[in-house]
């Protein structure tokens, strides 16, 4: 408080901040980037360790041995799937019943807001089949879920078959203290969403589904299984869920521990772990793995069936088999044992997984970066906004603008309101105007939605400052300062909240938005800065992310392919919002974009 009440020291502090404002900001920005890149350097990260007592000390013995039977089941399932031309519900119900499970089905239907061209679906109608193995040793108040999506075509048969084989094996064991639910869902995430909503009696996305007839206790954890070949070379763990939510780190630790025990190759983001952290290649590898995680988390979609469970406070992860035709092979029995081990450990849980971290980044499966280590990287970027806000000229404007009679407030209010109305248009119009667009232009519905979104985005660049000039005449010197102050504060709060919910998204937005927003004034060369601002706008950020992502998964694309991918990313983003309630699209359309428009306004102030 001495600093706050002693005027001399305050004067010294503000003097220092004013004189060195720009150098401090530049140093902060660079330090933020360097800090973030340093997170992938192994000595700066922590080794993962099992925090949960119930899963730590008691090693279980895995005896699952019917891997071969699972593979023959897979063939049978495949045949029935072909015959039924979709999910073979009858066969699955019989197969589960014959293995001693209580079997129920749930039908659901959902009309997408516009056709999904990636997966070629519009009116979705399907059935979930699930069987419950009742726990013989405990009062059935808790449950675990193993799920395998029934995908179209040839994929994922082995996963469903392994699920059935596991059910048969588990049925004969007596140590289960939690009910185990085996779920085969159709239409991947839509089926999972319908089942979860039915299980928890909620309806948040307007899905139509029949109520569940059989239920178990509160679900503690869930594993989603994706296997498409008889033998695999490695198992990949997928953690990123809806809105960038992650399961408890102990679930990843559990997977890693069993992979080590059974000698299965395990990857994360499809990347193997390397031991040469002190070489440049080793560091680059870790950095790439972490960047992939950041990009996947930032886009806020669910990267596997597990991602929707997280919203219901259920720790979940997807285990994906990868067959890359290397020499190292793992058979279905070993995968079955691995799952048996994981489920038995989860069965031992006395309370929900909560001991370990929920906020982390993984440069490799055995190393993690916790929130305390990565937040400073964001903090260093966010503090630039606050430093620019505390710029004394702006501070003075603030006290002036407190008087409602002064013109400051009104001149600021107009651009703020107009920017936000543009944002609302960007959020509402693409989906609502698709019919009209299809009528008048030779495009499909999906293209209509995406192109309308891009058109509104571009139109927004022209609209606000023109309207504002029309309404209130020439902008004053004080006016833009007040507007900049408002916009900086708004952006700081916005990015702070975003980074808390989804660190990666907040960080990526901060990296691109902070430099230009911190330095913008109307007195700069307009054309040059307009180009720079557009190149650093949210839409271009998405475009860069698409290219970087393709580069990182070692599937680089040409510019035109990248553009097509960019369009499909936008349509997927809008669909994810409508279908599962992903928040990235509304966040960008309703808040980030209007905020960016406010800075755009400042550039063209007079």
């Amino acid at each position: 408080m001495g600093l706050l009440s002693d005027p001399n020291r305050r004067k010294a502090l503000t003097g220092l901040l004013t004189r060195l404002n720009t150098p401090i900001c530049i140093v902060c920005y660079l330090a933020g980037i360097v800090w973030f890149m340093g997170l992938a350097f192994e000595p700066f990260t922590l080794r993962t360790y099992m925090s949960e007592n119930a899963m730590g000390s008691t090693m279980v013995e895995e005896r699952f041995s019917s891997g071969e039977r699972a593979l023959s089941l897979a063939k049978e399932f495949d045949a029935h799937k072909r015959k039924a031309g979709g999910m073979p519900v009858e066969w699955l119900v019989k197969a589960m019943q014959s293995r001693g499970l209580e079997v129920f089905t749930q039908s659901f239907s959902r009309k997408l807001p516009f056709p999904d061209e990636n997966k070629e679906r519009y009116m979705v109608r399907g059935t979930n089949v699930y069987g419950i193995l009742r726990a013989p040793r405990a009062p059935r108040t808790e449950a675990l879920v193993i799920t395998a999506p029934c995908s179209p075509g040839n994929t994922n048969n082995q996963a469903v078959a392994l699920l059935l084989a596991l059910a048969q094996y588990f049925r004969n064991q007596i140590y289960w203290a939690k009910d185990i639910i085996f779920l085969v869902n159709e239409h991947d995430l839509i089926g999972t969403q319908a089942w979860l909503e039915g299980y928890h009696h909620t309806n948040i996305t307007g899905m139509e589904y029949s109520p569940l007839q059989g239920r178990a206790g509160s679900i503690q954890a869930a594993l989603s299984l994706e296997l498409s070949s008889d033998v695999i070379t490695s198992l990949d763990l997928v953690l990123e869920g809806l809105n960038g939510q992650l399961p408890n780190l102990d679930l990843a630790n559990l997977f890693y521990a069993f992979c080590q025990k059974l000698g299965v190759l395990c990857t994360i983001q499809g990347k193997l772990q390397r031991n040469d952290w002190d070489t440049a290649e080793g560091y680059t590898h870790a950095a790439q793995t972490m960047m992939l995680m950041v990009l996947k988390q930032a886009c806020g979609r669910s990267w596997g069936d597990h991602g929707l469970f997280l919203r219901y406070h259920i720790e979940a992860a997807s285990v994906r088999g990868i067959n890359s035709f290397r020499h190292y092979k793992t058979d279905a029995t070993t995968i079955g044992r691995l799952l048996e081990g994981m489920v038995r450990k989860l069965n031992n849980l006395l309370e929900r997984l909560h001991q370990s971290y929920f906020f982390y980044l993984l440069p490799s499966l055995s190393r993690f970066v916790s929130i305390g280590y990565y937040m400073p990287a964001f903090g260093l970027l966010a503090v630039i906004l606050l430093l620019r806000v505390s710029f004394p000229g702006l501070c003075h404007c603030f006290s002036v603008s407190l008087q409602p009679s002064s013109p400051g407030v009104l001149t600021v209010l107009t651009p703020v309101v107009i920017s936000h109305l543009t944002g609302v248009a960007l959020y509402l119009l693409p989906v609502h105007l698709q019919e009209m667009a299809v009528e008048h232009f030779p495009v499909s519905e999906t293209e209509a939605v995406v192109l309308t979104a891009i058109a509104i985005y571009t139109a927004g660049l022209a609209l606000p400052h023109n309207t504002q000039r029309l309404l209130s005449g020439e902008g004053t010197e004080q006016g833009w300062k007040v507007l900049k102050l408002t916009a900086l504060l708004y952006l700081a709060v916005l990015l702070g909240c975003t980074a808390l919910i989804n660190f990666s998204l907040g960080f990526i937005l901060a990296v691109t938005l902070v430099p230009i927003t911190a330095s913008i004034t109307p007195h700069m060369p307009k054309a040059l800065y307009a180009v720079v601002m557009v190149l650093l706008s949210p839409a271009f950020t998405i475009l860069y992310c698409v290219f970087i992502y393709q580069e990182l998964i070692e599937a680089p694309v040409s510019v035109s392919e990248g553009w097509m991918l960019f369009l499909s990313v936008i349509s997927q983003g809008i669909l994810d919002h409508a279908l599962y309630g992903s928040l990235v699209y509304p966040l960008l359309a309703l808040f980030i974009y209007p905020c960016w428009l406010m800075f755009w306004n400042i550039l063209f102030w007079n």
Partner: protein, 457 residues
């Protein structure tokens, strides 16, 4: 002394004349914006009442507390209708008056909640009476301080600004849409302030008793109200003067008498004393530890049970303790003291909500002449804004996502209260500094002629 008195009375007459001419001019000039403001405020509320947000808002812990949640009022009413004492469960904690009020107007509840903040808007009128005081002051102070005094033109807009700060404050709107009974309590306190400033000791005493009956804490407003009346009647605060004691006893009698009558009436309404432990016991002993924007819940959830009584005393004393030093320091400025007391109550009370915060924030435009002396107002506004945005985010992470925990939420609560305390102390310091400048001149010089700075220690 007589000369001085004569001088004073002539100035008073003068200013009265000016005032009358002004007020006619003012009334016509202010009516339009005030009506517009009212229409805007009511429209916002009506729209929100009808929207799907209303339900969401009424569940927010920042907006409703166990004391004033509408859900609990409905529960109490249902029990009352069944002929059971509404206090028989552990759900209902309103006073008997409140439940009987809603018993009759439950169908019009929305209208009641819409009207109640508008009552507070009466508050905005109070500054007309302050105006004369400032007009008087202008003679007495050194010439260079004239820029510190408010010109009548500035004063015109203050009622409008106060009304705007209250009616359009998002905190008030949220609290109103959630149908939190906090709005009614605020209306009672506002009416009390209005009656006090209009100089009606009887009404002021009765309304203060009603406010105390509603939520105990306004008890501390007794001191500023008394000081105001003493000042108004030119009675010096002197313990050896009989006139001082006579008036104090008179006011205390009105206050205590009406308190006794109100409590007695409640007893006859319900036929039992159930409401005493259920309302006042609930406020004092803090049994409900639902998270809110206050300081109590986390502390008492973490505490060992056998220290509970001690710490309850420590926490509750905070509200009442500051009355004594503040009354001594601000005995010449009872209106500012009222503001300080209301702010302290809303920070340190056991179940605070954003509605309480809105009440003292409505006073801020009344001290617009202090802006030039405020030092941290920018920092404080940033902190309060950021906290308001972070409350729902961290609540989401804690309760829905399950990834954060109560420590994250409490950290923001602490920051929010830190901001509030900084705000109040900043205003206090600015007020004292203005008084200092009024008596010593605006541009202080050190003995050697250089510019001096004031340091608060």
């Amino acid at each position: 002394k007589t000369v001085c008195d004569l001088n004073l009375s002539s100035v008073l007459m003068n200013s009265n004349l000016v005032h009358r001419a002004d007020s006619f001019f003012l009334a016509t000039k202010m009516a339009a914006p005030l009506t517009l403001l009212l229409i805007v405020a009511v429209t916002i509320r009506a729209v929100l009442f009808r929207s799907s947000w209303a339900e969401l808002i009424s569940e927010r812990v920042e907006v409703v507390s166990p004391l004033n949640a509408w859900k609990r009022v409905v529960e109490g009413l249902a029990l009352l209708d069944l002929g059971v004492s509404p206090y028989s469960g552990d759900v209902f904690h309103e006073t008997p008056f409140m439940i009987y009020l809603f018993h009759f107007v439950v169908d019009y509840a929305e209208i009641v909640f819409m009207v109640s903040p508008d009552l507070v808007f009466c508050l905005s009128r109070f500054l007309t009476s302050l105006k004369q005081k400032y007009a008087l002051e202008s003679d007495r102070y050194p010439a260079d301080c004239l820029e510190l005094l408010r010109s009548p033109k500035e004063m015109f807009y203050i009622p409008l600004k106060v009304a705007m700060f209250y009616l359009l404050n998002p905190f008030t709107i949220l609290s109103c849409v959630a149908k939190s009974t906090c709005g009614l309590n605020n209306a009672i306190i506002a009416l009390f302030i209005l009656c006090t400033l209009k100089g009606s000791a009887l009404l002021s005493g009765i309304l203060l008793a009603l406010a105390t009956y509603q939520s105990i804490y306004p008890l501390t407003l007794f001191a500023p109200a008394l000081l105001f009346f003493l000042q108004r009647l030119y009675i010096p605060v002197n313990l050896r003067r009989s006139s001082f004691w006579f008036f104090t006893l008179q006011y205390a009698f009105i206050y205590v008498g009406s308190l006794v009558v109100i409590t007695g009436l409640s007893f006859f309404l319900l036929g039992s004393w159930d409401f005493i432990p259920s309302v006042y016991g609930f406020i004092f002993s803090v049994p409900d530890l639902t998270p809110n924007i206050g300081l109590f819940w986390y502390f008492f959830a973490e505490m060992f049970e056998h220290f509970r009584l001690f710490f309850i005393c420590v926490f509750q004393i905070n509200v009442f303790f500051y009355t004594i030093p503040l009354s001594i320091k601000l005995k010449e400025h009872p209106v500012f003291l009222i503001f300080m007391q209301i702010a302290i109550i809303s920070i340190f009370k056991s179940y605070p909500t954003v509605g309480d915060v809105a009440l003292y924030m409505a006073f801020l435009p009344a001290w617009s002449h202090l802006y030039r002396f405020l030092r941290n107002i920018f920092l404080v506004s940033c902190v309060l804004l950021a906290c308001s945005a972070l409350f729902p985010v961290l609540w989401h992470l804690w309760i829905y996502a399950g990834s954060a925990n109560s420590n994250f939420y409490y950290a923001i609560t602490l920051l929010f209260n830190f901001g509030q305390i900084l705000l109040v102390s900043d205003y206090f310091y600015a007020y004292l500094r203005r008084e200092h400048h009024l008596t010593h001149g605006l541009y202080l010089k050190k003995k050697d002629g250089t510019e001096a700075t004031l340091v608060l220690k």
